[in-house]
């Protein structure tokens, strides 16, 4: 479920965060679903439990997951992301839009594309 690439220069906790984010956003881990415990992941991936703990802590700060003491960590329902994380995502959208303009894509086409993506996502959640 979670893949680490040790040739990747990013720290391992970031790779774990990235993996889990994708699983949560895509719905592979449903909202309110329990995430694997720190112990499980540490043994399965053979990496330090503190690294897992750190990834979980930062995901919680970003709003992707929440922790119930004594019970474990759970995927948060949609719409719970922190303000910083949302700003970061908007920045990424901005960057992509600027790049598309540079590539010669016309603004109406960019908007139409975003429109289509949003509609597809809305259908999925219905």
């Amino acid at each position: 479920m979670i893949r680490l690439d040790f040739r990747d220069s990013r720290p391992i906790y970031e790779q774990i965060m990235e993996n889990l984010r994708k699983l949560i956003v895509s719905g592979a881990i449903a909202a309110e679903e329990k995430l694997p415990s720190v112990r499980e992941l540490a043994t399965k991936l053979a990496i330090n439990p503190n690294t897992i703990q750190r990834a979980y802590r930062e995901l919680e700060n970003e709003g992707y997951i929440y922790t119930v003491p004594g019970k474990g960590s759970f995927a948060a329902p949609a719409g719970t992301l922190s303000r910083q994380k949302r700003e970061e995502l908007f920045r990424k959208l901005e960057e992509a839009a600027v790049e598309l303009m540079y590539a010669g894509v016309q603004p109406p086409d960019i908007l139409a594309h975003i429109e289509a993506v949003l509609q597809k996502e809305e259908k999925k959640s219905e």
Partner: protein, 299 residues
């Protein structure tokens, strides 16, 4: 859990350890890196109670280790050059260790047969291949239910799949029982994923020790493009290294990514990106080539 204070060891005129003060917290996995001849093995032999120090203190759980059975029965040590009795098989050693280590766990011994199924437990360990000898040593060590596990170049001779399996077993004990692990290697890459603390040795000294989180949070790589060529960096920013390619400045800065964003953001750059550094890069910049031989651990 493990502590040395000003530990010094001399072999005749040769100073192998020179005032080493090491601190390993309970439940952590501490990676000891350094080039060949840095003193890693000598240090570990003190922690295992094999060597008596010339001066200084060697403490495990607050007690001196040398000739102290009460402490030593809680320590498992897997040396680089594995040594067993002539003709002894894994099973013979199991019987021997059962008599020495009061916590030796037979249930676990049988359960781990499956994990180490390629090791023939009835065959003399000395007649096994190097990798198999290591596996046999891990098998026996894990059954001692140690509070402290000392590993000297542990993955030497293990294939990647076995390496993972062995670390997975170790991590289970770290999480479940709070086992403390000290592991040495001359290669940083090898330890990056398993350790939460790092110590660097060179020339018989401990050059520095720090938590991995601390290392990662204190240095950041920044890529930034300014509108004007002559933009001045804020003076309070501690820049360790800078490179310029075209209009892109690449800076290595001593602060958190958030702080770098804030400090540089006020200059209204056209582009501002913070990139986390790999442990390897962190070591290069932290140690800055000041210490001889540090390059060797990065290869």
């Amino acid at each position: 859990m493990i502590e040395t204070r000003e530990l010094t060891k001399r072999f005749d005129e040769f100073v192998a350890l020179d005032g080493v003060s090491l601190h390993v917290r309970q439940g952590s996995v501490y990676g000891l890196v350094g080039p060949n001849g840095a003193g890693k093995t000598t240090l570990i032999r003190h922690l295992a109670g094999v060597y008596r120090q010339t001066s200084g203190e060697v403490l495990v759980d607050g007690q001196p280790v040398f000739e102290n059975n009460a402490v030593k029965e809680r320590i498992a040590y897997i040396p680089d050059d594995i040594f067993y009795f002539m003709q002894a098989s894994t099973r013979d050693m199991m019987a021997f260790y059962r008599g020495i280590y009061p916590r030796f766990n037979m249930e676990r011994y049988n359960a781990l047969k499956d994990a180490f199924k390629l090791v023939d437990e009835k065959r003399a360990i000395r007649r096994l291949s190097k990798g198999m000898q290591k596996q046999s040593a891990f098998w026996l060590a894990m059954c001692m239910m140690p509070d402290v596990l000392l590993l000297d170049e542990p993955v030497d001779g293990l294939d990647p799949i076995m390496r993972r399996q062995v670390w997975s077993l170790i991590m289970e004990d770290v999480v479940e029982r709070g086992m403390t692990v000290l592991v040495s290697s001359h290669n940083l890459r090898e330890l990056e994923d398993v350790c939460d603390y790092m110590g660097v040795m060179d020339g018989g000294r401990l050059v520095f020790e720090r938590s991995v989180t601390e290392l990662q949070e204190n240095l950041v790589k920044v890529q930034v493009v300014f509108e004007t060529e002559d933009a001045q960096l804020p003076p309070e920013l501690e820049v360790l290294h800078r490179e310029k390619a075209g209009r892109i400045h690449t800076l290595i800065v001593r602060c958190s990514p958030e702080e770098a964003r804030e400090r540089l953001g006020v200059l209204k750059p056209l582009l501002l990106d913070t990139i986390p550094l790999s442990l390897e890069e962190i070591f290069i910049y932290e140690l800055g080539g000041v210490e001889r031989g540090i390059k060797d651990i990065l290869l």
